[in-house]
């Protein structure tokens, strides 16, 4: 069912565009999972040690930014394909 819809979409728009869209969505899924995991751990860390909140949030932002950077690389590549 899903596969046939995907196949139809591929036929309609061309493999290149479909690949670009698929790549961008996969990148976003990956980044979402990654940043969610960072947020979860940071919240747990802050809950256990509220006095370290400042340090934890700085490092959280840095690691979230690094993941976001990797995801945006992927999206930029997909944009070039398009």
């Amino acid at each position: 069912m899903l596969l046939s819809i995907l196949l139809q979409a591929t036929m309609a728009t061309g493999v290149m565009k479909f690949g670009a869209a698929l790549g961008a969505s996969l990148a976003v899924i990956g980044a979402g999972l990654g940043i969610g995991k960072i947020g979860q751990s940071a919240m747990e860390g802050i809950a256990r040690q509220p006095e370290a909140a400042g340090n934890i949030s700085t490092n959280m932002i840095i690691s979230a930014a690094l993941i976001e950077g990797a995801a945006l690389f992927a999206i930029a590549v997909c944009g070039f394909i398009l």
């Binding site: 932002i61 950077g69 690389f73 999206i75």
Partner: protein, 365 residues
């Protein structure tokens, strides 16, 4: 006291709503005339987030209200030309052999036609919309910060405490210095503080002005890859020029098992690639975030015009939805404006801090 704050918050909220309305108004007329039938949404969005030779404000009853900007070009025979972009009549006519291209390759750019009939790009130093907006925003920033600096010059830094606006700016600056620059750069942070603060406030004011939908704002400056490239280049140059001997040693001869360095220099190659991907990530991050924000806002505004064919009731409902969503996303983008400026500064500070590496003390006693 709390009542006062509440009133101010309400006034601010309403002024923002009226901003959103202004944007709607100016855009609606533009769309209505731009395409009598169906509107081409992707093209419309691209036109709004792109650069241009005149600053379009509104189209009123088919008459375009826009600010013409100076065009400075050097033609192929080495002659300089300076004229107003109003000579092009919004791309409908040519002037001195120059015209705004409609071809696939140089779409929307100034070209001249060579003897062979091909379109060639002259050297183009025009004050375009982005350049003009950059000048406006930079002057606003300089005025704000020099006013604060003058307060300190008059009163001295120890005698009195600043109040009001100056105090707010001081708090803002010190939060960046104490929260970002000091912990991330390390002990000789004072040397890099001017650059990092400049980068932060430059990005922040340009992000914010990009969110103001009426005239002096609304240009997509930090969502322009040339601007973010230049900013990232500054960080790249500072990191590599002021990098210590230890920083270069860690790139070309890191402390890893020897077979990772000789005969195939695996880790050094990865480190050298990392040297370039760090500023590249800075460039792409700021560019993509701001571009995406502008596109989403314009896309939400476009809902109004897309739903026209669905009937009046549907269109009215969707218009209300669109205004609410646009206001919401615009406020969200204020947050993004701060976060992106903050992230650029924090990552630049971390990269500079990494390049200030000190030699490790060997445990050899």
């Amino acid at each position: 006291m709390s009542k006062k704050i509440f009133t101010i918050a309400i006034i601010l909220l309403f002024s923002l709503v009226s901003f959103a309305d202004n944007r709607l108004e100016s855009d609606s007329v533009a769309v209505a005339t731009a395409s009598e039938g169906k509107m081409n949404i992707p093209e419309f969005i691209l036109e709004h987030i792109g650069d241009s030779y005149y600053w379009h404000i509104a189209t009123y009853k088919g008459h375009e209200i826009s600010i013409p900007l100076p065009v400075i070009v050097r033609s192929a025979d080495g002659e300089w030309h300076l004229f107003s972009s109003s000579r092009f009549e919004h791309g409908h006519s040519s002037y001195k052999g120059f015209k705004i291209s409609h071809s696939e390759k140089y779409r929307g750019k100034i070209v001249e036609t060579s003897a062979q009939g091909e379109e060639i790009r002259p050297l183009d130093f025009s004050i375009t919309k982005n350049v003009f907006a950059l000048m406006i925003n930079s002057s606003i920033l300089v005025i704000i910060l020099l006013l604060c600096a003058r307060w300190y010059r008059n009163k001295g830094t120890t005698e009195a405490n600043p109040k009001g606006f100056v105090a707010a700016i001081e708090m803002f600056i010190m939060s960046i210095v104490d929260g970002v620059i000091k912990p991330c750069v390390g002990k000789n942070y004072k040397r890099y503080t001017p650059y990092l603060l400049t980068a932060f406030f430059f990005i922040f004011i340009n992000n914010l002005m990009g969110l103001v939908p009426i005239f002096p704002g609304g240009a997509n400056i930090t969502g322009n890859i040339a601007i973010t490239f230049t900013l990232a280049m500054f960080t790249f140059v500072i990191v590599n020029i002021f990098g210590t001997r230890e920083y270069w040693k860690e790139i070309f001869w890191p402390n890893v098992p020897w077979w990772l360095k000789v005969p195939v220099p695996l880790i050094p190659v990865i480190e050298v690639i990392g040297m370039f991907t760090k500023p590249f990530a800075l460039m792409i991050r700021l560019f993509a975030n701001i571009l995406a924000g502008h596109s989403v806002i314009i896309g939400l505004v476009c809902i109004v015009f897309v739903t026209v064919e669905l009937g009046t009731a549907m269109n009215a409902g969707m218009t209300v939805l669109s205004v609410i969503m646009t206001t919401f996303v615009n406020l969200l983008e204020v947050l993004v404006a701060y976060i992106q400026a903050y992230v650029f500064t924090i990552l630049s500070a971390v990269f500079i801090g990494l390049s200030q590496a000190e030699p490790h003390h060997q445990k050899s006693h």
